[in-house]
Symmetry: D2
Amino acid sequence: MGFELESASPAGVRCVELAEKHAAEFAATAERYDRENSFPYPHWSQMQRSGLLAAMVPTELGGLGVTAVRDIVVAVNRLARGDGAIAIGTAMHLTSFWYFAQLFAAPPPSADGPAFTARLRLLLRRCARGHVVCCVAISEHNTPLGRPNTAAEPVAGGYRVSGRKAFCTNSPVATLFLSLVRIDGVEGRRRLGFAVIPRETAGLTVVDNWDALGMRGSGSGEVTFDACRLPLEMVVPTGEVGELPAGVLPLVMVAVTALSGAFLGIAEQAQSLVTAALARRHATGPAVRTLVGDNEIDLTVSRAVVDRVATLLDAALRPATGLTDDELPGLMAEVQCANMAVKRAAIAVVDRALTASGGSGYLSANPLSRLYRDVRAGPFMQPFSALQAAEYIGRVRLGLTDPEMTPSASIPR
Amino acid sequence: MGFELESASPAGVRCVELAEKHAAEFAATAERYDRENSFPYPHWSQMQRSGLLAAMVPTELGGLGVTAVRDIVVAVNRLARGDGAIAIGTAMHLTSFWYFAQLFAAPPPSADGPAFTARLRLLLRRCARGHVVCCVAISEHNTPLGRPNTAAEPVAGGYRVSGRKAFCTNSPVATLFLSLVRIDGVEGRRRLGFAVIPRETAGLTVVDNWDALGMRGSGSGEVTFDACRLPLEMVVPTGEVGELPAGVLPLVMVAVTALSGAFLGIAEQAQSLVTAALARRHATGPAVRTLVGDNEIDLTVSRAVVDRVATLLDAALRPATGLTDDELPGLMAEVQCANMAVKRAAIAVVDRALTASGGSGYLSANPLSRLYRDVRAGPFMQPFSALQAAEYIGRVRLGLTDPEMTPSASIPR
Amino acid sequence: MGFELESASPAGVRCVELAEKHAAEFAATAERYDRENSFPYPHWSQMQRSGLLAAMVPTELGGLGVTAVRDIVVAVNRLARGDGAIAIGTAMHLTSFWYFAQLFAAPPPSADGPAFTARLRLLLRRCARGHVVCCVAISEHNTPLGRPNTAAEPVAGGYRVSGRKAFCTNSPVATLFLSLVRIDGVEGRRRLGFAVIPRETAGLTVVDNWDALGMRGSGSGEVTFDACRLPLEMVVPTGEVGELPAGVLPLVMVAVTALSGAFLGIAEQAQSLVTAALARRHATGPAVRTLVGDNEIDLTVSRAVVDRVATLLDAALRPATGLTDDELPGLMAEVQCANMAVKRAAIAVVDRALTASGGSGYLSANPLSRLYRDVRAGPFMQPFSALQAAEYIGRVRLGLTDPEMTPSASIPR
Amino acid sequence: MGFELESASPAGVRCVELAEKHAAEFAATAERYDRENSFPYPHWSQMQRSGLLAAMVPTELGGLGVTAVRDIVVAVNRLARGDGAIAIGTAMHLTSFWYFAQLFAAPPPSADGPAFTARLRLLLRRCARGHVVCCVAISEHNTPLGRPNTAAEPVAGGYRVSGRKAFCTNSPVATLFLSLVRIDGVEGRRRLGFAVIPRETAGLTVVDNWDALGMRGSGSGEVTFDACRLPLEMVVPTGEVGELPAGVLPLVMVAVTALSGAFLGIAEQAQSLVTAALARRHATGPAVRTLVGDNEIDLTVSRAVVDRVATLLDAALRPATGLTDDELPGLMAEVQCANMAVKRAAIAVVDRALTASGGSGYLSANPLSRLYRDVRAGPFMQPFSALQAAEYIGRVRLGLTDPEMTPSASIPR
């Protein structure tokens, strides 16, 4: 695979090496966790021990010191070749710490100065010691992303949070939950808020009820908050209900791009598996060769667009850059373009690999049958599913704004 | 579903009513058999008792007296709305008995007259009493359909058959196996042969090892023949090795068309499920409505093409028709056109239903997640998989003949 | 082309024979009219003389006595193999006379009895003598079909009609224009109306300004009405502004289906041309054969769906049938399914033929380069273009009604 | 268009500015040259005068000093937004001079030293003075690229070349023709050769007979050689007949990538036209917005893959790089991946723009109707058309070599 994505920084190279080492091990057990629909706890422990989960922590605090989005993408890409379910979980965790590390490097003016930095330093250090896994718990059944039913009610010294989140990838092993809540303010005024909720908070329950077509080892079940008490600083108002807030967009864009790397990795793995199988036969026909070629076309463009968008993000989202609000929609649309393109291409690649396998890929013993299920998760993901992404992008291109056009996380049961 | 396929004959109407009644029951357990990867023995007993499996047996011998291919297709279509795995098994069984009933009605000149008819009468009667299930055991791993490794060696009074067949849908419950064998004749001359092998034959083993992405309740595992002794009349030479023999083509065309009905039924079921779910919500967006509309387009054309081809087959394959060898390739190509069109469309329909479900379809609890796996089996099927069908059809259209162009059942492991 | 659409009635067979004879002649000049962007007047005269344009006139009034929609479809299908532009014009004319012949056979209760029938008899007789060509002038730039700007103002003894219609296929040769108008009634109340306007009406101008990518010989330019005076009986109120009226729907469904036959014919012609060219070469590769095979798949399903829907319409639209208003949307959706499927498939078929031609099809001298342009007209057509069809169908499937959802003829300039 | 391709070098920026200026002028006349099927001589004179055609000439010899493939791609991309036909011609010319400038900077060991360099210096200087336009005349009707019928027969002091080339873009204005010939050597041995033939050579005729579906102003007609006498140094043996020679591959890869830039430009122009038209309306529906969004997705990935491959080529093809023969197939396959992806995407983008135009794009007065025809030329182009590209790429991926697998330029008439 001569043209695969490569890391450009020394810290990134180290991170990618770790990811490749893990991926080789994870590949051996992916089928089992899938079959048993169980969570790969041992592998998360391995990633804690190896330091991969502390990739974004500055070296002086004990981490790998990775700073580039592009490096996250490449590492997640490698993990996904071994186990897609672990890769998407790692993507969410690393993205969260990309965000924390950015806040640590350049605290926002609104932050409470030294206390803010001290809290982050502690969090980063704990991560470096292998004690933190982040879970992004923002989706809900039957509500759009910007209109959560999960409510944060102001109480003395903080908030009381209640609600139910879905598709909480990583939740079985997570120690910290990043969530979107509706802050019910004075006089009925409601705002959107970003909450950080430790697992040990009373009232938090990891339901651990994930059972799906694919990504079965990802632990993407529900998490419930039953009157969870949070201190004031753990719930940050971010904007109006119904809108995707500018403050959260960078986090969203990085997460989406990291996930693109995962789906690219799944597709690359399918192509590797089927070409290896074909090479073991003495002859291939033109139909099979054409499928392999069309897969290469899709992989080449997917790598290119992930590469370009990750590079764009690293240029645009440096703390010093100061991306204006005007530029955000265009960048977000560009990220979504890459995201949809890669996820569509990845599904097509695995499907062609299945066809090229001549039937053997349909058997459970063949990993392609798992990849076929895993890769289909892509277009459902937040903030723009296949039902919304193209129209959202078209709106941005046409310069249309619509306060009601908010990314939907509505997953009806 | 106002424009669904309907039976036109009284016997067919009765048969379809039975299929609809069964489908309603099978739907309730399809998820369980899928999850447990077990075979739905009780449902096959129910179909024995109801008389559905004797649909093709003349009424005077105790059956429903269905004669039309089109009626098989409609019945299988209805079964598939309940359980696709049972539907494809039933398609294979009913197709086999369509063939036996045709031979009974108009014995070929080569048959041994009264003895031939007597054997068939006995078989048909036994079927009417619920004692026969046919399994079409023609595929093998790593050989094309026309070049089986399963060998029939002439011995005193008959043949000794040895080999291993794969993708033997129904095999756990089957009592009679229809197979393709290589007859190893005198002086090394080899011919292709059609063998009928009772389950009680010594040396026959139903391996029952089916474990696949979908169609998990279809029992499509391996069957092995270890020096099975067969009387002379149970192995019929049909033509040259490497060629799809004209005598077997009608059977193949009917089977393919019956299977098309099954995949159409799966797609119809997916559309029904998702539109019912959408109707329960208070609002749908244009993207969802467009997906539902595109599904209707695919369903409408699929019904039309199945209908047209089934009607064509009924006109062409009546015992009295005398289809010439010149006309066979064109008809076979037309059948393959319908087959590929329906299977491609069915996959697209289920995929759109999944997208329109907004994520809930990805959960194991939602039947769409099973339909997504079941429907993908279609393009692997015999005799022309997705790798060969279009080129085969193109060859026929261009008037090209190629003795080496034989449908491949090669399913590499 | 062994499985092509055939007429089933003696009158239809005669009509199709005429169409095939014309098509052979039209094929020879199609390139010239396309290149010169001129209207094929001589061919319309030929169709007048041969009696093809009087196909729908009862035999006792001098016509061919064709009554079946299916026969129109097959005849138009054959014409389109020679010249698609003439075929779509003929489709509009024959559809109009299908409607007139139905009214003649079973006058609506609201009609003014003997006078109504006498007017229709005269019209049918004039058609039989080769004096009538109908043009359906219902589209406008920038308005939806149900909200025309063309206004019929009540005046003494009738109406005064003013407005501008676009995409008026046939208009250079037409003698009678069927149009949709907005009737400006008393007290500002507006209704939708169906107007029949003779060419000799003062104020009517055939602008003859058609110049497009394809269908260049179809004369589909603008027609303007400048205070055209019409007697009362030539403008029939049909329903509310903004809705597609039930009374006009049968006409629409027949027209759409006839046009499907035309686009199928264009696709069949492309396939014939490219397979003939390939047969002249000594060898074809698998890629080319696969394209030819995929074309056959699309042609087979297109024939099947046109066949099924035309048969459905003939059953549903017999004067005696009495289709209920409840059944209309479902039937209309089914017609639209067939329509979109055939038009999409036809575009795909011509595109593959172009690819299979290896480059020669891109040259102007090769008819494929014209078919590539002609066939692209399909999805723009009324009443549901590619922008609306799938969502409309989805709405009907979901049982949604929306008074604002009206087929759009909006063709912005 | 915030994320468009940009040049990274000062020389490139200057070149792209010139291209943008030209494009604005060319856009105004593109429709006329298309309609009249005539060659835009004035625009080629403008490009001579502006210095754009001397972009690749070193500054010390009077040119712009552009050296990067990426800069060619961006300049051609901009030209194509104005006139695609001129853009593909300019791509062929600039690619030729990229090759000459590379040979001048680092003469191959086999070259005849100072004389070789002196000839190239003269050529580059003549180009800088606006006296040279190159035409790549390598395709023929009915032969694959590696097996030309055009023959170079050794004669005293050189060769005598005879044959007929097709698809010679630029030929009306070209002064130098780069061609592939079959060198008929001693004892019947034949080799493939690369010939450079000045227009003034006796026997050379520019037939100027281009008349095609699109790219009508590109002058891509035939050129005939009737016993053209060439000195020895103008015909270079490159390898075996039937193989794509390693020495010519870099030239091919750069040309293909430059052409990708042109098709991307056509697609960008279609998107710009339709979004501008939509912005002039007061409302757009979700279907239109979704089409615009899907176009953005295709444009984003196309830009990314062109960018990545152009950057790869600049790294791999520097004179000093010394790409090994082992690495060539992989790089060639990667270039072909980008090429097919961009050309397919460009066709899809223009098609969606046409649909989104609501019918107005189908009128000749709307530039979209020209872009629809122009963009379809892409997949026919050398060395791998849509019929061969995917299978070629698949072969490389599978490590298969096939001496008979040679890119085909066979354009049957």
